[in-house]
Symmetry: C2
Subunit: 289 residues, 2 copies
Amino acid sequence: MIIDKKSKILIVGLGLIGGSYAMALSKKGYSITAISKEQPDIDYAIEKGIISCGFAEVNANAVSSADIIIFALYPNVFVEWMKEYGKYIKAGTLITDVTGIKGAIIEKINNLVPQGAEFIASHPMAGKEVYGVKNADDGIFRDANFIIVPTRDNTPNAIEKCKSLGELLGFRRISYLNPKQHDEMIAFLSQLTHCIAVSLMCANGDPNLVSYTGDSFRDLTRIANINENMWSELFLLNKDALLYEMDCYRNCFDKLYNAIRDGDERVIKDMMRLSTARRKMFNKDGDNI
Amino acid sequence: MIIDKKSKILIVGLGLIGGSYAMALSKKGYSITAISKEQPDIDYAIEKGIISCGFAEVNANAVSSADIIIFALYPNVFVEWMKEYGKYIKAGTLITDVTGIKGAIIEKINNLVPQGAEFIASHPMAGKEVYGVKNADDGIFRDANFIIVPTRDNTPNAIEKCKSLGELLGFRRISYLNPKQHDEMIAFLSQLTHCIAVSLMCANGDPNLVSYTGDSFRDLTRIANINENMWSELFLLNKDALLYEMDCYRNCFDKLYNAIRDGDERVIKDMMRLSTARRKMFNKDGDNI
């Protein structure tokens, strides 16, 4: 175990993800401190044994005594936090995050990390359509991917420790991508799918539809229940990659539209065959297939 | 029970849906005869007790002795079948179907139904991404909607019997729509969602994506595994309603695209708030919400 049991781990931001990290690590016997802006969240987390100690304001001592700091904040809040309080971080501290985009923040954060400390970006690809520490659930990592996003500035030791963190949290799979690859992948798999679900829900307001809805529509629109503050920020911070994926998708949608309009059965069937073949690669055990 | 236990029920087409109907009705004590083109399907269904008797060719006697005939065929095959064999149907027989579009077939079928028999359209909104009687499963109706699509030509007795059929099959909810309402609802809830899933899978062929895929993407693309023969036929038979829904959806998608491109956070957030509010109406117990 490369992360010593006596390591002081600080989590900044006790939301769903920060809270779930804290829960998983506490269960493994680590002592977790948290900084989060709402006192009731701190109280709740202590009462439930999710953290051992917490502060509703930034506590310089808690920051400077941490060996590992995990930031579970919105990207822009993370940057602002570092501008204001980054100076408290001591040399030797390992910093990581949970941010859903990487290119837009890594350099900014690196410029704010004090000499001797190190930031290694990572992204837990897990979530729920609910928020806050009261919904914390370390089970969400069990079937999920943990992505480490190193740059040439990172040391092998930091990469190795980050991997151990992913293992401790119980992720099914740990992998490595550079920031550009990460952001392109996220633009397609996550951001574009949220754009689609939101657009679909906005397209039709007939309240009678609920009565006729089957599971396919529910599955497709589950992510249309979306935190507008977090996701609008993520979209805008990854604008180029997202617009590119939206363009590619729209071209396919338009091709299908035109084929239906023109009665071009060959094109429709070709697209469906391609879609079916590709989707089979994504099947999991337990799929209804 | 309005459908007498001694009724002779004939199912034409032993696919997933025809087979699941047969399974549900046999369990309720009805004696089910089937006509389906593959002898191995007939043999399998008899062996498993799904039907009591079956024919791999159209048997005039089986058709003319049926009190109720359920057509579980592709729409165009249904029409062709009626052209060729509809004459065998006796007066007093109730005919229904499972077809996913209604406007394009009801009049055609009505013109082919012999004097004294009656066709009442219905649509079991249930399915799986697998095919054939070997995947028959009457459990798929339990949480699903059964839609009866009467026209002014239908008698109250036929509507009532069709309702009893939906009850016998175990549907959670039975409702009534006219053909136009049905086809518009299906265009949005079912056909558009399949168009979206197919387009999304066609938009990106990177095989590495599988490693990073979470449940959201899997949920959204489950229906991208699609039977191209059935669905291209359904799309083209409901072209006008489907193109209309595709247009509305694309307008929303374009609005979101433009807002992201222009950095217009207000529009993005407004759309997300609308989407979230509407999606909440679709929540079911057991949703992760």
